[in-house]
Every structure is written in C-alpha cells, then in structure tokens.
Symmetry: C2
Subunit: 214 residues, 2 copies
C-alpha cells in the first residue's frame, strides 16, 4: 500500500506511529505531498481527498482512505495485535471517545491556531485567515493540556489500560504544539512525564525517519 | 443504559438513529439535558463530558461514553447485525472516512454557523461568537452538499453498499441545515432523492419521538 503524506506532519505522524506499533511499516511506500508548496490543496490531490488533508492511504487496488482514525481502523482490522482501536464494546467506545476528544480539544485547535493566527504555510497557501478564531483555539488547546494532565496523573494511558489510538492523537497534538511554539505548561507534570514515558516507544521516537530510511 | 441528550438535537439524532437501526432503543433511558438553557455547558454536565456536547451514553456501571462515533462503535460491538461501522478492514476504513468527512465538511460547519453567525442558543449560552468564521462554515457546508450530491448520483449509500454510520452523519447534517434554514440547493437532485429514500427507514422517520414514547 501507499501512503501520501509529509514526513514532518503531525497528522501523518498519527498513521506512522500506528504503522510502527502494528509492525506494518515495511508494507508501505510513502509518497511525499509537499505541504510547504500547498500540494495538498491542489486539484490533483483534492481528487484523492476532498478535504485536502494528509495522510491518505491507497490500497493495492487503488482504494483511497483518508482521515487518520479511518486509516488506523483499517490497519487495525488488517492485522491483529496490538489492537489500537479497542477490543470489545467498552474499549472501542472509550478509545474512540478519547481519540475524538484529543482531536477536537487539542490537535485540531493547534492546527487552526497555526493556519489562522501565525503565518502558517505562507501567504500562497493560507488564502483566508481569521486570527481571532486562531487565538481562541490556541487557548482551547492549552486548557486541554491541563485536562489531559489531570487525567494522566491518575492513569498510565489516555483511554484504557494500554497504549491506543487515543495516546497517539494526544502525542500528535503535542508534536504540533512544539512545532508552533505552544509550550506545555510547566505545572502539567503528569503530562510531561507521560510524554517522556511514551518517547521510549519505537513508534514515538521513530515515526519521522520512516520515509527517509526506505 | 442511559443516554443524556435533547430530543431535537441533530447530534443526538445520530445516536438515536443508530439505536433504532440496531433495535436497542428499548434498552435505553433518555435523560434530557436542556440545550436551550445551556445545561450542557454547566459544571454538572461538564463533569460527564469535558467537551460539553450531547449525547453522552452511561453504561449500567456508570462508565461515560461521549462522542457520537464512539457511542456508535460501542453499540455496534454490543450487538451484531446490522453493522453500522463496518466489517473487515476495507469497510471499516471507508465508513470511518466518510463519517468523518460528513462531520468536518457538513455537520460541524452547520453547527458552527448556527452558534457563531446566528443567535444560536441565545446570549446566555453563546458567550463568544465569531460571525465571519460562522459564515465561512455555512459556505463550506453548502459546498459539501454539492460534493455528497455528486457522490450519491453514482451510489446508493454514502460509504459502502449498505446503510452505515456515514449515512447517519450526512442525515444529521441535513437535519441541522433544516433547523437553521440552510437549504439543500435545488440542483442537488441526487442528494434530495437519497434523503427521500432514507426517510423511509424507521430510524430516520422515528428518532425524534424516541424519548416521548417512553
């Protein structure tokens, strides 16, 4: 299978981490879509993904699957352990809930902040900006850091008692926050410690090198 | 199990339709959270769902599951046919992709338009509004109607060759559009016809009465 992505992108990182967790990284060819040139917003790529976002997976027969959660669900059904989207009703519900919460409260707000309240990908790509909205989203993301900090003071992983897609999405949020200079508050000790623990996983330390090493 | 929701809410509609499709509606007690009074943004409810959104499912042992996709995944794993989130890797990937696309391109933009560019739930609830952002989101939703129209000119259902969670999410988008007076363009014939076909399903015609009939 192919994956259209960009090697430093925080959303692509989600799928790259999932691939490494599942041991599927050698089954993938990466195709670069240059975010800096806005290739993801041009007609050739929009024909692959209406929403103009990375990453997109293409199966051997040419079927296209966009959206990180969808790609992770696909990979999870393709190969068994470790299961990233949950086994049984309760795990599935809790992982999907926390994954979505990490998206809407942390990762997506940081992305909106980047594209609307900073120079983002530059004037040729950022054709419309709403700085006021972007700044609100940055504040929302910082509030979410405090929320996840409190959560992780009481448990080892974000959603259930093992690593899951929800941990990956929080990590992607923090990766994006680093890129745009939004620091995790120092008082968020549990979040800092959790991130350090997660950093020991090969998926979390190695996702960026995935396409370079091929 | 309990479901905290509001009987006319478009997001609650997603879970109500899923319940009827799966024949689980009699296993649920509905608890009203009055959107018009902003009960979903008050501390008592925020303790149940950090994001302050409806619906939230509570299991018999008190576990809380928020987010429509998560609740649908939970219900799907709880009881077999009909499967709303897909069987096998490809179906799962495609359904989750189209479900997310329906959220981010249609349903969520209509919601943002409502809360930011109209009076929304009133001044006591809408404490911050960004009208310019809201209007952009309305236009994004209308563009998505054209996208789904083109898609549904060529197939019977949104994601795969049977009814799924993705159909439910497009329907919820159109329900919300009705509520806020954003019409489906007349030229979107396939979308109009698809909606009419979907209206024949008991889940689509009956979700609003679910809590009243109990």
């Amino acid at each position: 299978m192919k994956i259209y992505d960009w090697h430093t992108g925080p959303y692509p990182a989600r799928v790259r981490m999932a691939l490494i967790e599942k041991g599927l990284q050698r089954d993938v060819t990466f195709v670069s879509v240059d975010l800096r040139k806005g290739e993801h917003k041009k007609p050739a790529f929009l024909a692959k993904n209406y929403s103009g976002t990375l990453p997109v997976l293409e199966t051997a027969d040419g079927t296209l699957i966009a959206e990180c959660t969808a790609i992770t669900a696909y990979l999870d059904a393709l190969r068994g352990a470790p299961v990233l989207t949950g086994e049984g009703a309760l795990e599935r519900g809790l992982i999907h809930m926390m994954n979505k919460r990490a998206e809407i409260e942390l990762l997506d707000p940081i992305s909106v902040y980047f594209h609307h309240a900073t120079s983002g990908l530059g004037p040729a790509v950022e054709l419309y900006q709403n700085a006021e909205w972007g700044l609100r989203q940055r504040d929302k993301a910082i509030a979410a850091m405090h929320y996840f900090d409190e959560l992780l003071a009481a448990r080892r992983f974000v959603a259930v008692d093992r690593f899951s897609m929800a941990d990956i999405t929080v990590l992607a949020g923090l990766i994006f926050a680093d890129l745009v200079g939004v620091a995790i508050p120092e008082t968020c000790r549990a979040l800092h410690m959790w991130r350090e623990r997660m950093g020991a996983r090969p998926s979390v330390s190695g996702w960026m090198e995935l396409s370079r090493s091929k």
